[in-house]
Structures are given as structure tokens and as C-alpha cells.
């Protein structure tokens, strides 16, 4: 247990040294610059657009961090041959893998938390500058605490993406291939609704069955998207959030188990 924590801490320090947290600065700068310009372009919809933009930027920046660091977690150690030195120490392979995973997920959550702070600061500023009538017309207040639910869902989605990236990188030796496969699965996971209704498009029942099977087997990333509901102040059932969170946890457990099994058998020449 302690070893996992140490590896995780090391990954976190490493990502700070790799200037991953600069993405927060980029996020804050973009959000502030846009909030300054947007009022002149949008006919009174600035609050909604800033909310949309902030959530989309958090999700997109996090996605790139999760994929590009996630695929390098193990592959880089093998490339630099430092994996021999690590595995010669009393670190078991599954401890290394889990520690790496938790370290990156921790980095992502710290990243999201700081971005959320900057996000609320910008929203509070917009809320203070908007006229009273515009605020009353908006479906949700400027610093709506429910936005945190959307951020939390983004965090869970990114944790799942990280697990996918780590899974591919345990057996593929090419970083480009791992990145492609991870992005591919992410995009496929957005098309859940189409796969589910595939049988209405094709005549062959077998093809419909394959589509439905894929729908249930592939990670359904579209389920984590509650950004629009939160921004429009629509109700979200707590049960939906709980089930989606449980789905993410079980899927992550599945991917990590598979990764540990593959990594344990892998032969480093």
C-alpha cells in the first residue's frame, strides 16, 4: 500500500516538473480573455457561453493530459530503461501500475480543482458586472454550485480515459498507437446512442445484435456529459449520478485488472 502511495507521489511530482499544471494558466488566460470579448458578440448570452466554454475547456485540457501522459506512464519508463532499476527494488509490478494510475488521476483532480476555482472567480466577476435583469432572466445563478457536479463528472470521465490509456500502453510499444487507440475509443464512446439503435438502421438482426453488444461493452463516455443540463439549470437525478459514478468505478477496476494481468506477463528484454 505504501509503495503505491510513493509511486503515485512520484508521478505527481514528475507531472509538476513536466509543467502539466501550466494548462491551468492557459485555461485561466483563455477564460478571462474570452469573458472580456464575449459580451460584445453575443446579445446577452455571455453567462451561458462562459459557462459552456469553461466546462468544455476543462474537459478538453484534461482529456489531452490524460491521454498523452497516460500512454507515457509505463512506456516512458521502458524507453528510458529506468523500469529495470524500479523493478529491481522491492516494488511489485502491480504496485507500480496502480501507483502510476493513482498518481495521474490525482494530478488530474488537482488540476480540475484549481481550474474550478479560476472558473468560479471569472463567473463571480461576470455575475457582478451583469445588470440585474440579465441575471434574473438566466436559468441558473452565476456562481451555481451545481456546476461542481459537471466538474465531478468530467473528473470521473478523465479517470476512465486514463485507465484506457494505461491499458493500451501496457502492451503496445508505440506511443502513437496507444494515443490513437485511446482517442478512438473515446470517440466511439460518444456514439453510444447510435450503436444502441443500430438495429433500426440495418436489416440484418445479427448486425443489430453486434451493435447492441458493442454499446454495452464499449465505455459509454456520453453518459458523463451533463454539462448542458447543469448550465440550463435542468434537474439531474441523484440516482443517475450515482449509477454513472458506479459505472466508471467498475469499468476502471476492469481495465486496471486487465492491465495488471498483461503487465505481469510482459517480458522486458
Amino acid at each position: 500500500m505504501r509503495t503505491i502511495g510513493l509511486v503515485a507521489l512520484h508521478v505527481f511530482r514528475d507531472s509538476v516538473r513536466d509543467k502539466v499544471l501550466y494548462s491551468i494558466v492557459a485555461f485561466a488566460v483563455v477564460l478571462m480573455a474570452v469573458s472580456y470579448v464575449i459580451g460584445q458578440l453575443t446579445a446577452g448570452q455571455d453567462l451561458k457561453i462562459i459557462k459552456d466554454l469553461g466546462l468544455a475547456a476543462m474537459s478538453l485540457l484534461g482529456l489531452f493530459i490524460a491521454v498523452f501522459i497516460g500512454i507515457g506512464l509505463i512506456a516512458r519508463e521502458i524507453d528510458r530503461r529506468s523500469i529495470y532499476a524500479v523493478l529491481a527494488k522491492p516494488v511489485r509490478r502491480h504496485e507500480l501500475l496502480l501507483g502510476k494510475y493513482l498518481g495521474l488521476v490525482g494530478t488530474l483532480f488537482v488540476n480540475l480543482a484549481v481550474m474550478a476555482l479560476a472558473y468560479y472567480a471569472v463567473l463571480a466577476y461576470i455575475g457582478a458586472t451583469l445588470p440585474e435583469t440579465a441575471l434574473q432572466a438566466a436559468p441558473a445563478p452565476a456562481t451555481d454550485p451545481r456546476l461542481l457536479l459537471a466538474v465531478l463528472m468530467i473528473g470521473l470521465e478523465l479517470a476512465l480515459v486514463t485507465a484506457v490509456a494505461l491499458f493500451w500502453s501496457t502492451f503496445s510499444s508505440s506511443a502513437l498507437l496507444s494515443a490513437g487507440l485511446t482517442f478512438g475509443l473515446y470517440i466511439a464512446g460518444q456514439f453510444g446512442a447510435d450503436l444502441k439503435n443500430f438495429e433500426q438502421v440495418v436489416t440484418s438482426p445479427a448486425a443489430g445484435l453486434v451493435g447492441r453488444a458493442l454499446y454495452y461493452l464499449l465505455p459509454n463516455f456520453a453518459a458523463f456529459d451533463i454539462k448542458a443540463e447543469v448550465v440550463h439549470g435542468l434537474p439531474i437525478q441523484p440516482g443517475y449520478l450515482a449509477l454513472t459514478a458506479a459505472y466508471a468505478c467498475v469499468y476502471i477496476a476492469l481495465l486496471l485488472t486487465a492491465s495488471v494481468m498483461i503487465f505481469a506477463r510482459r517480458d522486458f528484454k
Partner: protein, 107 residues
């Protein structure tokens, strides 16, 4: 000392080259004036395609089309052209509302 002169020379060279690029572009545009920008085009006009292209960023893309619709309306209204037609306004707003069905003001 040598390193400092090297840096200064490098920065100066970059500045001179950059100024030349800008200058060349200006001269070319004076000699061969660009034609008026073409009419606005809507590349993707199918809401079904765009919803899929937007992945999970539907709301943000919808905002972009909302801004475009407003700019299109304002631009056409203020333009000097004799015939003002708003034929792109409906498709732009249609895309906005298809991507984000709760964007009430766009209806």
C-alpha cells in the same frame, strides 16, 4: 560577452526578417489586390452530422453558431449591398437549436 552579442544579433535578425515578411505581404497586396471575400458559406448544414462531429461539446458548438447567426444578421443588415437576403439565418439558428435544444432565446 560573446554570447550576449550573439543573442542580440539573433534577435535583430528575427526582427528584420519579420519586418520583411510584413512588408512583402503589403507590397503584394498593393500590386495584386485581393478580390472581395466570398459570400458566407455554411460548410456543415446538417444538424445530425454536426451533433456527431461536436462529440460532447454540443453546447459550445451551439454557442459558436449562435454568435455566427447574430454576426450574420447584423452584418447583412448593415451591409451596403442592394439585395439583402437572410437565407443563411434559418440554417444557422436551426443548427444552434438542434445542438442545444434548451437554448430558448434562439427559437
Amino acid at each position: 560577452m560573446k554570447a550576449v552579442t550573439g543573442t542580440v544579433a539573433g534577435v535583430a535578425a528575427i526582427a528584420v526578417l519579420m519586418a520583411t515578411i510584413v512588408r512583402l505581404q503589403m507590397v503584394r497586396e498593393r500590386w495584386f489586390p485581393q478580390s472581395e471575400p466570398a459570400q458566407q458559406i455554411l460548410y456543415v448544414s446538417s444538424p445530425a452530422v454536426l451533433t456527431r462531429l461536436a462529440l460532447s461539446y454540443d453546447a459550445l458548438v451551439s454557442d459558436l453558431y449562435w454568435i455566427r447567426a447574430i454576426q450574420y444578421y447584423g452584418g447583412t443588415r448593415l451591409s451596403e449591398r442592394a439585395s439583402k437576403s437572410y437565407e443563411l439565418l434559418y440554417p444557422l439558428l436551426d443548427l444552434t437549436t438542434s445542438l442545444d435544444p434548451n437554448f430558448n432565446i434562439a427559437y
